[in-house]
């Protein structure tokens, strides 16, 4: 599936992105920066150190993860759905010798690539800000890509079954939104009741943060293999499931 034709699908999306690259990257930076400034300074001034770091440093890694998740999710949901349903771009591509699997592979990698761009843009700001070092930031890059693949794979499942744009609200309200508040973006998971901490360990965002926060802050990683495994599983199973569902939707 990962071949020239999947790459052609990836390239198509890249070419569209390139036309709007500047506003797109600015948009990717501005919103997370507002979170970071507003919450980091506003809330941070009320808080002592969090987990041994100034609050704004603690929050920064969370914002990198949240932003990567959002970027991959929006691309795999709204943008991919436009190409599948509204613009019939997938249909056109399938008239060429490209299979549905190859289209999905191209879309999966593209959504992950776009979230990688988002995550790296914020990372760059954090380096300039002095919150993390260039060397630490470099170590974060593969973890961002992995996070992107995870949420892009999950997003494609929703896209493959969605009848319209409104359907995505269920995913945001029931999955993405709650996950944001129990995965340790804004405060350590250890602040939650024990049962919620256990639940939190089942969520991919928790593992993305467990991987990325120590890397950003220059701390040592614990159970890195577990976090990587969970992200790979969510992304991989999501992608495989989206193949099955998209096949049912388009090829039967």
């Amino acid at each position: 599936m990962f071949n020239q034709r999947a790459l052609a699908v990836w390239l198509r999306n890249f070419w569209v992105w390139r036309k709007l690259a500047v506003p797109s990257v600015l948009g990717n930076i501005v919103e997370p920066m507002l979170y970071l400034l507003g919450l980091g300074y506003g809330l941070g001034s009320l808080l002592p150190n969090v987990a041994g770091f100034p609050y704004i440093h603690f929050l920064a890694a969370g914002i990198v993860c949240q932003s990567t998740m959002n970027s991959a999710t929006f691309e795999a949901l709204y943008s991919a759905f436009s190409r599948l349903h509204v613009q019939r771009t997938w249909e056109a591509i399938m008239h060429a010798p490209v299979s549905l699997d190859e289209i999905l592979m191209g879309e999966w990698l593209w959504a992950a690539s776009k979230s990688l761009l988002s995550g790296c843009a914020i990372l760059l700001v954090l380096v300039v800000w002095g919150i993390t070092s260039p060397l630490h930031a470099l170590a974060v890059v593969p973890a961002i890509l992995l996070t992107g693949l995870c949420f892009a794979g999950m997003g494609l499942v929703i896209t493959s079954v969605s009848p319209n744009y409104d359907f995505f609200m269920y995913y945001f309200t029931l999955v993405i939104g709650p996950m944001l508040f129990v995965s340790g973006v804004f405060y350590p998971v250890t602040q939650l009741p024990v049962w919620l901490q256990w639940f939190s360990q089942l969520l991919p965002l928790t593992h993305a943060i467990s991987l990325i926060r120590p890397l950003v802050l220059g701390e040592s990683l614990t159970l890195a293999w577990l976090h990587i495994l969970v992200l790979l599983l969510y992304g991989g199973i999501g992608f495989q499931l989206s193949r099955k569902l998209a096949r049912k939707r388009l090829l039967s």
Binding site: R5, R12, Q87, R88, A92, P97
Partner: protein, 303 residues
Amino acid sequence: MAVLKVEHLCKQYASELVVNQLSLTIPAGICFGLLGPNGAGKTTTLKLCLGLITPDSGSIELMGMPVPDAGPKVRLRVGVVPQFDNLDPDFSVAENLIIFGRYFGIKPDVVRANVPELLAFAGLEGKEKSRIRELSGGMRRRLTLARALVNDPDVIFLDEPTTGLDPQARHLIWERLRQLVAKGKTLILTTHFMDEAERLCNCLAIMDHGKIIAEDSPKRLIENLIEPVVVEVFGDGLDDWLATVATGTGCRIERAGETIFCYGQDATAVLQSMVTFPGLKSVVRQANLEDVFIKITGRELRD
């Protein structure tokens, strides 16, 4: 040599057999038309032949390759003009062709060099940089045709290529399609326009309820399946005329609303029977493909 060979093809959705034991053989270098009312299974048949959906049973061979088992590579030498516009709105006219070439593995420079020729063929000279949104329906359809030629295909599938176009645009498309056949390409198109089928196609298959119910050249379909002369009768006194003398004319008589169609060997008997009904009017004409179509698919409305 047969470009497309279909045997006993079946495809069922829910409880409806959309394609029912369909068999077809299409030789190279002709324009083949699938003619049928809405919902006859034309589009499904095309999609099955392209390997875009999986048949329930039967076999398909496109240019010697088994479909869908051979996978997407059967479409390397195929062009497709779909029923609904799916040009890429995020790109300009020229970019649409270049991007589409990429899906075939054709390098952008190669397509770029061919863009002027492709656009000239589609009557879109100088439109390289136009946005898709700026194009009229006819221009979009022509661009879709140009896009289908990016890989210089041997076979081109066209699903209702002129639906929704004005007469000028339709004539231009017909003219281009004839040029393609003259160049030796095989065209396989669906349509429900009789004039399109009659003018363009060397061979026609009339399809209904998932089956082919007649197959021949347009001329022979008319010769063999319908009486040569049609008299259309309408006006005041139609009911009286129908009840009293019409059946005595020896013609096959059909009613559609306020018009009665009399099919026969000549018009004399019908015209004579009308003499005593001064309120009636009539049109005498030769039978055409539409008469054949209505005769074998019926007059009731389709959705």
